[in-house]
């Protein structure tokens, strides 16, 4: 079930909202159970066959969490290894088995050896997200950081439908305490109002900006995959279209998840902070997919040694983290190379800082830094979006003008959409300025936003989005 579908907006969500607060009148645990069951229904809508896997995953991890919590005996470390192997093994089996077999067969073909039969495993949606979420829980259990132990709350933390399919990657310490709070189970208009604004903003980003951009980006990448050779302006515009599409699509999804969650009084962390305003790659990664960046930092980069063992190890750790982060996005060499490119860019960025120190640049310097960062990110997106390396190389050739500078003129609509998208990204205010996302007091901006006139305009924007629901398109990050 998509957030941007009639079934979700007009049947599933209103029903769950009503049932949750009706159940909360009887007991908070009943309400949490209702939300957990609703989340399983939401997940089962995609694939009923995957529901037992999800249930088995959170039951097993809850049990493992108990075993790992100190004082848990001498075998705690053994339990941790077993838990990691089980979770990563599950992820590897479902997400990477096809990839490994394909690559192994390519090697075997070179050696004239017999091929391995392809397993053709169907990827359960959201497996990367619920596996990472639970790995963090297990590590924290082992480190003795986990306080909340309620099974229903744990099940809800893992399955909670606003984040289940495409994140944000949640941390139990952000979520489980909220499930225990009595005010979560009361209708609070001040929270719902912010939820409405954030949800409609996300819906707008997805339907009115990302989807139209996606048509242009798809046209470029598909034409190259079909053997086309894009000329200079077509290649650049197509890549810019994709850069803005993925931002508006994914941040739109995150906003919708955050907004929906606020209807239940539950705060999800902000996942984007105007990443295209970044003036360095380091800053970009502190603004883009913040929850994943935080996970990779705390549960991969730091355990690898972080920056504690000298410059070389730091750079190596960065590269490994980004390579694995790339691979997390999908079983394809394009994602591995995308991660590698970002790893190298981060290393260059750190090396620059080490050599020249952190400087306060003037306007021209900041503009140059911004341009270099945005260019680097866009060039990397080519790898991320391409079906294979050959397609990416052909687009790079087009961007370099190697396929010529003249061709069919890009439509004025595309140019206008890219310009508007860029303006929104660079000049627009970020949603984390709203209270209840950062729990800051309402600013003047928010107080002005909370007028009945704004509410009517928001309702109209919502109606326009609903009109554009006719062909629901899935969110890009669902595939990861």
């Amino acid at each position: 079930m998509l957030f941007n579908s009639y079934a979700f907006l007009f049947v599933f969500f209103p029903a769950v909202f009503a049932l949750f607060f009706l159940a909360a009148l009887r007991s908070r645990m009943l309400a949490a159970s209702v939300l957990t069951l609703a989340s399983l229904v939401f997940y089962g809508w995609w694939s009923v066959q995957a529901v037992p896997l999800l249930v088995a995953s959170f039951c097993a991890n809850y049990f493992l969490g108990l075993k790992l919590t100190p004082p848990g005996g001498a075998r705690r470390k053994l339990w941790l290894y077993a838990a990691m192997v089980a979770n990563l093994g599950l992820l590897a089996f479902f997400k990477y088995a096809n990839f490994f077999v394909e690559n192994a067969n390519a090697l075997l073909d070179g050696l004239d050896a017999a091929r391995i039969a392809a397993p053709h495993i169907v990827l359960p949606i959201g497996i990367s997200f619920f596996t990472f979420t639970q790995i963090a829980f297990l590590v924290d259990c082992w480190q003795g950081k986990v306080r909340e132990r309620n099974f229903i709350h744990y099940a809800l933390f893992v399955t909670y439908f606003p984040h289940l399919i495409a994140g944000p990657v949640l941390h139990h310490s952000q979520m489980m305490p909220q499930f225990a709070k009595p005010e979560t189970y009361r209708i609070r208009f001040e929270v719902i109002a912010i939820g409405l604004i954030v949800f409609v903003a996300g819906l707008t980003k997805k339907l009115l900006i990302a989807d139209p951009l996606g048509e242009h980006a798809d046209a470029l990448f598909q034409s190259v995959a079909d053997g086309g050779a894009p000329h200079f302006s077509a290649a650049w515009l197509g890549v810019f279209a994709y850069a803005f599409q993925i931002y508006f699509d994914f941040s739109g999804y995150s906003d919708m998840a955050i907004g929906l969650s606020l209807f239940f009084g539950i705060h999800l962390p902000v996942n984007f902070n105007s990443p295209y305003k970044a003036t360095s790659v380091i800053e970009f990664w502190s603004r883009w997919h913040i929850s994943l960046s935080a996970f990779l930092k705390h549960y991969l980069y730091m355990p690898l040694g972080g920056n504690r063992h000298g410059r070389f190890r730091r750079h190596l750790n960065l590269l490994v983290t980004m390579l694995l982060g790339g691979l997390w996005h999908g079983a394809n060499w394009t994602f591995v190379f995308w991660g590698a490119v970002h790893g190298v860019l981060l290393i260059i960025n750190h090396a620059w800082r080490a050599a020249f120190g952190r400087r306060e640049y003037g306007a021209a310097g900041k503009a140059a830094c911004w341009a270099a960062t945005f260019l680097g990110v866009c060039l990397a997106w080519v790898l991320f979006r391409s079906e294979n390396i050959a397609t990416a190389l052909e687009i790079y050739k087009g961007m370099l003008g190697m396929n010529g500078f003249r061709g069919a003129a890009p439509g004025g609509g595309l140019i206008a959409t890219v310009i508007v998208s860029a303006a929104v990204c660079l000049l627009g205010r970020n949603l984390n300025e709203l209270p209840y996302l950062t729990l800051s007091p309402p600013s003047l901006f928010v107080r002005r936003l909370m007028s009945p006139v704004s509410a009517v305009l928001l309702a109209y924007l919502f109606a326009v989005c609903v009109i554009n629901l006719s062909t629901p398109s899935p969110f890009l990050y669902f595939q990861f």
Binding site: Y6, V191, A455, A459, F462, A463, I467, L469
Partner: protein
């Protein structure tokens, strides 16, 4: 503050929902022309095939109030074609198929005033109006047969090579058998699913409401008195337009001649070239001369053709031959056109 905001949002949503409910219960006031309503409701099996419709015109939709309006009876047969006189004259000969676009359909004109109705009154022939639905595909209908085809080339669509498109499509599908059921409008079991119908309808409603809001915001209350606000003049912007159309018409005539079906071409202008000064339009020389150039070239190629420009010019001196706020001809215009055709070299197609 927040409570008022949330309640205002849902109140606005409820009001919009009421408008949507009203629209689906009684949709006609949300349409300016019957063809839009027919595409969304009648052709999808959600409304009766004969409707009395209050029509204004394409360019009048930019104004809040519609003036003038005319109540037209618009009826289609069970195949979706505008009612003419084929079924009632099954035994008559010749049987003539009319091919064309919304002009031939009679957009903005009641059943009695459309071109095919005028021809039905002038000739005893069995005449079928194939506009907007099926077109040349009618030749494959197991229950229908035709001795002649009249192509009506409007200034706009002739220039777009409409003739070539129709023929190619027909030829591509020539081998495909068609059942009589495949021609019928959906009724009951095979009508468009409600969700798709809702989605298509809601898009129209949004366009309508946006247009009303825009007209209100711009202070456009009533349409102007004369034909001054026709949407955008259509330009013939390809130097090879005449040659392409002649080539197409030649192929078409030869194709159907080989099948024993006579073919004729009726070429007529839009009002932009008929009286541009009254419309306040600057029409370029290529566009102005297109209908004459095309007709001349068709005749020189030995194709049976009639240029209705002079005839309509003469008629327009006495009365309006086009709808006031629309690019379509009115009943008087179609009457004049049919009368002129009666005296032209196309008349034998109907005799």
């Amino acid at each position: 503050m927040a409570r008022r905001f949330v309640l205002s949002f849902f109140a606005a949503c409820a009001a919009l929902s009421l408008v949507v409910a009203f629209y689906f219960a009684y949709p006609k006031p949300f349409f300016f022309q019957a063809w839009e309503f027919f595409s969304l409701f009648v052709y999808e099996g959600h409304a009766a095939r004969s409707q009395t419709f209050r029509e204004s015109g394409d360019s009048a939709r930019r104004y809040l109030f519609q003036n003038p309006v005319s109540d037209n009876r618009v009826s289609v047969n069970e195949l979706g074609n505008r009612v003419a006189c084929y079924e009632s004259r099954l035994e008559r000969r010749p049987r003539v198929l009319l091919i064309g676009d919304s002009q031939l359909f009679g957009s903005g004109t009641g059943d009695e005033g459309v071109f095919s109705s005028h021809l039905c009154r002038l000739y005893p022939a069995a005449i079928y109006n194939g506009a907007r639905k099926h077109g040349l595909e009618m030749l494959k209908h197991p229950d229908y047969g035709f001795d002649a085809i009249l192509f009506t080339l409007t200034e706009r669509n002739a220039a777009n090579g409409n003739c070539a498109g129709s023929l190619e499509k027909f030829d591509e599908n020539a081998a495909e058998p068609r059942t009589r059921e495949s021609y019928l409008l959906p009724e009951g079991r095979d009508r468009q699913p409600w969700l798709e119908h809702f989605q298509a309808g809601i898009k129209h409603l949004h366009g309508f409401l946006s247009g009303r809001f825009k007209a209100f915001a711009l202070g456009r209350w009533f349409p102007p008195e004369r034909h001054l606000d026709v949407a955008a003049p259509h330009r013939v912007n390809r130097s090879d337009s005449v040659a392409r159309n002649v080539e197409c018409a030649r192929n078409t005539a030869a194709y159907f001649k080989a099948k024993g079906i006579a073919v004729g071409f009726l070429v007529f202008p839009a009002h932009q070239t008929l009286y541009p000064a009254e419309l306040g339009l600057q029409v370029d020389a290529v566009t102005m001369g297109f209908v004459d150039d095309l007709s001349r070239a068709l005749s020189e190629a030995g194709i049976r053709t009639f240029n209705a420009k002079a005839c309509l010019q003469a008629a327009s001196r006495e009365r309006a031959v086009y709808n006031r706020h629309d690019s379509h001809m009115n009943a008087a215009g179609f009457g004049a056109l049919a009368a002129c055709l009666k005296d032209s070299r196309l008349s034998p197609l109907f005799e």
